[in-house]
């Protein structure tokens, strides 16, 4: 009895501490802005839907070939976990700029608990989908900068890694997201975390033995109300149909294995009305498709949005 008690208390105690470390990490600072890449932009505050967390973001008008600015079509860009809207690891700012230079407006923002947004627990997309839905609300009815450009006619989304998973969850609930690009999304967060937690080290405990991983996820729920088991885009991705969906994944992804892509593809294509395009990028690790392929990536994504959202309908705009 004593042994059972001591073991259980110790196990729960250590799992609780790991959960506390798991749900939050000091945000990475933002060093560059779209202005560093020669683009006009405005800083915006994006209130998340339902829980009204004020997220920090950039609203970047698209630049048409003749130099005019446009917000006719706006892409909500969603970064990955433990990074920010600048996305130094996966060159997200460069991708954002490339989309804008192809005439697509961009709303990129820091998800809760990351970048310049207020501290909040990490839930691998389950709570963060409210952030994406808040971005859609801002575009549809919020106060936008560049009022002379009007309001966006149509909205698309592009997410990378956890941002992709979050976007898939949000798009399944929000029909206003008319087209989705998902790069390196996971099908289910829990197995991913259970695999990754033992690779991490936390203060005091050091490297985490794998046996604590499942209980740390449970303790995150008990202590902080974060249900990491509910972040399962594979369950809802079919609801995106008949809207167009582009699934991108690196063939050499060892963080979110390619099996996740296959599960998502199978689920997404299950409705008869599904319009799913896939691109497995050879020799590419996690969330590195844009970094590795550059202009090829941009060309594919822009072509997808051109087909899905239609061409720019703007007849007049401000000069860039």
């Amino acid at each position: 009895m004593t042994l059972a008690g001591v073991l259980t208390l110790g196990y729960i105690g250590i799992s609780s501490y790991i959960a506390e470390q798991l749900v939050y990490e000091t945000p990475k600072p933002i060093v560059r802005t779209p202005a560093n890449l020669g683009l006009r932009f405005a800083s915006v505050t994006v209130p998340s839907r339902d829980d009204h967390i004020n997220l920090k973001g950039w609203f970047i008008p698209g630049v048409l070939p003749d130099g005019r600015l446009t917000v006719d079509r706006v892409i909500v860009v969603v970064h990955g976990t433990r990074t920010n809207r600048e996305g130094p690891g996966d060159h997200l700012l460069e991708l954002t700029a490339a989309l804008a230079r192809h005439g697509l407006g961009v709303l990129s923002f820091d998800m809760r608990g990351m970048g310049e947004s207020p501290p909040a627990p990490l839930s691998m997309g389950n709570l963060e989908q409210r952030d994406v839905l808040g971005a859609v609300d801002l575009l549809r009815s919020g106060r936008l900068p560049f009022p002379e450009l009007g309001r966006p006619r149509i909205i698309g989304g592009l997410g990378i890694s956890m941002g992709a998973a979050t976007l898939l969850l949000a798009a399944a609930r929000e029909p206003a997201i008319r087209a989705v690009v998902s790069d390196s999304a996971y099908a289910d967060a829990a197995p991913l975390l259970e695999r990754e937690i033992p690779k991490r080290t936390v203060a005091v405990v050091g490297r985490i033995p794998g046996v604590f991983a499942p209980s740390a996820l449970v303790m995150a729920r008990v202590l902080y109300g974060v249900d990491l088991f509910a972040a399962r885009p594979v369950d809802t991705i079919a609801r995106i149909a008949p809207r167009p969906l582009l699934l991108i994944h690196g063939a050499a992804d060892d963080y979110v294995p390619i099996s996740n892509f296959q599960q998502l593809d199978a689920a997404a294509t299950s409705p008869r009305t599904a319009r799913v395009t896939t691109w497995v990028v050879p020799n590419t690790r996690h969330a590195q498709a844009f970094k590795n392929t550059g202009s090829v990536y941009v060309a594919r994504v822009v072509a997808f949005f051109e087909t899905s959202l239609g061409s720019d309908h703007t007849s007049a705009g401000a000069a860039a």
Binding site: G5, T8, L9, S16, P119, A213, P214, L223, Y224
Partner: protein, 99 residues
Amino acid sequence: MKAPRALQPMFVLIGLAILLIALTAVARAISALAGFLVEREVVLQVWLVGLLVVGAIFARVVRRSMRRDDSPSSLWLITVTGLVLASPLALMLLQHPSP
């Protein structure tokens, strides 16, 4: 009367567990007003201190119960209580590695 008395540690354990979870939820709700960074620290501290207090109370109840009851049926019930106590550990170990 011995059997119900021998079940006392199990009832105490379940009651304390429910109380601790409720107390942690209250601490979370109150500390959330000060922001997540405060909430994160406060919740963990309340929980860990609570675990120690629950452990101490439970150990005391078990010791008293074992001194009082020494019949085979009472020992069986105490063993069952031990299994209930260890069940979170067993459940997690069975889950590992995850599919």
